[in-house]
Symmetry: C2
Subunit: 171 residues, 2 copies
Amino acid sequence: MEPPDLEEPKEWYPPENFSLVTPGIYRSGFPSKKNLSYLNKIHLRSILTLVPEPMPEANAAFYAKHGIKLYQYGVPGNKEPFVDIPEDKIVEALRTLLDKRTHPILVHCNKGKHRTGCLIGCIRKIQGWSHIAICDEYCRFSAPKSRVLDQQFIELFDISKVVYDIRFKPS
Amino acid sequence: MEPPDLEEPKEWYPPENFSLVTPGIYRSGFPSKKNLSYLNKIHLRSILTLVPEPMPEANAAFYAKHGIKLYQYGVPGNKEPFVDIPEDKIVEALRTLLDKRTHPILVHCNKGKHRTGCLIGCIRKIQGWSHIAICDEYCRFSAPKSRVLDQQFIELFDISKVVYDIRFKPS
């Protein structure tokens, strides 16, 4: 009898709220143990986490084993309206996302709704999306818990603060 | 005074319910006139529509002008539970999606919820996603009008009926 192939399950379990944002950039909720093999399946090179806590051991070990680089720009995940999001952290995170040498990269927080939604909204703003289109997407991932203050954060975010190396800009 | 650049608007208007499904495959609701320039911006090579009606003139002219090939697998868009979806049409549509020579390709129906959701669900099944992950995604795009019968269609769909040319399978 063949031993089971632990690296290639019969079914794949992407993390909750998983989606491809734009070529090279994915988004999701926090990857649990059950989701890890899928991250390898899509050949991730990097993970950008917005949670401030240390990674669970299973995640850290998996990333190390598969050469997945972890970028951590921790933002507090409180239940308050998302007004205290530190803009400098978002600027740093955007610089990482806008460097295609980090791609394919997965952005996540806990649920993939609010912190991730704010960051992805800023990427869309840089891509020139209209505000309605940005909010349509934000709400799809955060429903039924969409926050007006998140959408306001995106609307007020000054994209000119995001300075990045044009040579490595994603296409 | 410079003439306005009609091809490069200041803001982009992706169609409603727009998303990247997997590298090379996009999904959305019906692209209106306002959305057309964005389709060119993302360098679409093909559009796969699930609506049976002829394309509006503005769409047809835009696709012809930009060399975007239209594949039409019309499925009735009635308000009944989605039990009458002709499986052969879905099989044909999947063959087109699974040929990377058509990529980048956009799948759409009217709202990008039910018909598109069924087709994308079948793609996920071919990709080996677990049924819960497929339903999570289906519901994100169809909320608050998710249909159990759509999800049942996906669950019962026999992927062995989809025969395609392995040489052109997307990676």
